[in-house]
């Protein structure tokens, strides 16, 4: 039987550790993806992901279910990302080697994917990562939450604590900057 997030939460509060582990399994990838896209470093994203679940576990008793569990979790993760960015005091830079190792690249490709397509896909990913890294963190966060996590504008506004119109403006501005960056970058 598949339990909903809220059911798993209430079982976890009741002392069922396995239920919380199920929540971790369900949400660790989205949380990691969010952290990676915001801060741009794989190891730090993993740390943020782990810390998110630890904090969630400790604060589980305080979760009253006014918001969705996922929104609550995203908020914790975003706060941790924000702390990370503040600590680093620099624009996050996505780690990407200048010269891509062809062998490593080829080893990671899908069996049916021609190597030319793989190189093109990797190049495009690099271009997107670099362009995203140049955006202010507010715009980047809004784009990530909307584009990759499918949150509504209202959910994003509640999560980051700003008016609905601000979220939309940030998205528009961010996408417009990306449009310019992506058109200028040679692919």
């Amino acid at each position: 039987m598949t339990w909903s997030d809220e059911e798993l939460v209430s079982r976890s509060i009741g002392g069922d550790a396995d239920s919380f582990n199920q929540l971790v399994l369900r949400w660790e990838r989205p949380i990691y993806a969010l952290a990676y896209r915001v801060i741009g470093r794989e190891e730090d994203a993993r740390d943020v992901c782990q810390e998110t679940f630890l904090r969630a576990f400790r604060a589980l008793g305080g979760f009253r279910g006014q918001a969705k569990f996922s929104s609550w979790l995203y908020r914790i993760a975003l706060n941790l990302c924000r702390d990370w960015v503040r600590r680093q005091r620099r624009t996050p830079v996505v780690q990407m080697p200048e010269d891509v190792d062809a062998m490593e690249l080829a080893a990671s490709r899908e069996p049916s994917e021609p190597i030319e397509d793989l190189v093109a896909r990797r190049d495009l990913t690099r271009v997107v990562e670099k362009a995203m890294a140049r955006l202010p963190v507010e715009q980047r966060t809004a784009i990530i939450l909307k584009e990759y996590h499918g949150l509504t504008f209202q959910e994003i506004a509640d999560m980051v604590g700003c008016p609905l119109s601000t979220v939309k403006t940030r998205l528009y501005q961010g996408l417009t900057v990306l449009r310019r960056e992506l058109s200028q970058t040679p692919r």
Binding site: N21, R46, M103, T125, E147, L175, L178
Partner: protein, 247 residues
Amino acid sequence: MTETLCNYPERDELLVSHLYDDIDSAERSAFGSHLSTCRYCQEDLSALRAVRSTLSTWAPPEPAFSRSEFRAPSPESRAWWHDVPVWAQVAAALFVLGISATIANLDVRYDRSGLTIRTGWSTPQSVPGNATPWRAELTAFETQMRNEYDAKQQAALAVPVAAPKAPTISEEELRRRVSVLLDERERRFQNETALAVANVMKDYQRQRQADLASIQRTIGFVQNNALSEQLKQREAVNYLLKVSQTR
């Protein structure tokens, strides 16, 4: 970047709402009819759709989660007695100590002969007069033990020790057993050799396949590089031709 030459109220917000289809029906309808007539908004929307399409290619690297990374501290991992108050634990310990002392009939005395601790239910026998009555008994017991030991030693020397009788096996039986052992050993050796050969063959095949795959990948990459170089050269030639034609 397209210059915004459209003055539709809250145009940017509505455009982004329309882009993500996160817009209520009234606004969708109104903005939809504007879109059908506004060239700037159409271009902008189309360009932002292209950006979204490009963004969809960005996937984070596969996380290397190990199951040991997160361990929810389970309530069972806490020993049950952590939940019992300290005063109750002390009281329980004293109670157990008291019960044990009662069962063991602990008798603690302190008098002129010093501290005496005695356990057990047997009552001490009173020995009149002699202060150390056990010493004479102990000496007598020792003498008795020595005598018994000496007597047993002498008896053992008197009886010759019989050598253990070896089981008798016929020569035919012995040959048969040796032959069986040799056969078994040979069979085991053959099995081990076959296994080793199979392993070597398997390793060889695996290595061969890996080498072939590696060569194939390298060739693909080289071809890709060559193709890319060729394209660059073609672009350069085209550029030169274009420049030469314009002058």
